[in-house]
Symmetry: C2
Subunit: 223 residues, 2 copies
């Protein structure tokens, strides 16, 4: 579980200051499926990057299982990212010189009980593109390789920054089902950032952000 307390992130550039996060408080429970909604620039990626140990806040704390991620050393943070977190980046961050399968294997080779790369790529509908490079794939196909790479890790925590941004409705649904399946089979704590309010129906809870703050947290009774 995560406990976020009074988290702030401020970028100061000369006389201009940009407040990306403003005193955020948030609890995430083990095995939950949480969706974060909010307009462009509202601080979603910044929050997810800090939760995933990829960025540091200006002030405040993030506790993961009672360990303070925001006051620990680089080696601990690296271990947390490698062993506990599967991350789907907003810009995919695939390695151009590796095929789809190799991009997934790069991550699964260092994890104890991964899915086989072929299985993960099959789950996102790319079973017939294993040996193609990112430059040979469409935008949405690249995004799906990034998703396969994260779920193949069978992580304890799955952080997804707009995993369906480049996908049509049907392909997006396939991907969300793959994420939901990991969440249900493995009890993976899953956080999905999206602009698509329709995806919010899948969540246990929906967190709405605006201008660096959390404005609403709604439990989804229908689930």
């Amino acid at each position: 579980s995560f406990h976020v307390r009074n988290l702030s992130k401020v970028y100061g550039m000369g006389e201009v200051e940009v407040v990306a996060l403003q005193s955020i408080d948030l609890d995430l429970y083990d095995g939950e499926f949480v969706v974060i909604l909010g307009p462009s620039g509202s601080g979603k990626s910044t929050l997810l990057n800090i939760l995933g140990g990829l960025d540091v806040p200006t002030s405040g704390h993030v506790y993961f299982h009672d360990r303070d991620l925001t006051h620990t050393n680089e080696a601990e943070l690296t271990r947390f990212r490698r062993d506990c977190v599967g991350f789907i980046f907003q810009f995919y961050n695939l390695i151009p010189s590796l095929t789809a399968r190799e991009n997934v294997a790069l991550v699964t080779d260092i994890v104890r009980h991964p899915m086989r790369p072929e299985v993960a790529l099959e789950r996102v509908g790319l079973g017939d593109r294993l040996d193609h490079f990112p430059s040979q794939l469409s935008g949405g196909e690249q995004q799906r390789v990034a998703i396969a790479r994260a779920i193949a890790k069978r992580p304890e925590v799955l952080l997804c920054d707009e995993p369906t941004g480049a996908l049509d409705y049907k392909t997006g649904k396939l991907v969300l089902e793959a994420l939901q399946r990991v969440n249900q089979e493995l009890g993976t704590t899953t956080v999905v950032i999206t602009h698509n309010a329709a995806i919010a129906n899948m969540a246990d809870r929906v967190v709405t952000m605006r201008s660096g703050e959390i404005t609403r947290i709604q439990r989804n009774e229908k689930k």
Copy 2:
């Protein structure tokens, strides 16, 4: 206007062949606003890249005002891209070492009657981020810089590959209104690729693609 005749694009890699476009026929009329819908991998970006003179087909023709773009020389193609086309890329393709304003000015400096960079960035809601670099902007903010860069050119043709992919509903609407305004004020022939069927309502016509083919062309009576 564009006249596309029997256009095909085939990628052959060893024994595997990927047919990105299969015998496409399409007419686009001056000043029209056309939306192209279709699932991930259906050939939308490939078609748009060929229309914009950024890629060559395997066979077939693309006529722009009766000039055959697919059988011309590199200098003609460069002049077409520079003087006639504003292009919004699916991956934005901003220059990281230039600010938002400089990224737009890079394009407007070589055009006869551009918008001022500040005006274009203001139209997409980024008037207060002119001197920030892409790395200091969120995903959706970077996408909007790419949109400002294309509309500032006040081009004869505007080709947009998923211009609202990284944007929430309200910001997406702002951007689409900016595109629609250019289309109406300047008579710019506008093609927008999207997965979002709600955007299709803005179009004069909607072209639906699947597996490299055009399956339907619908005129929008409501417009």
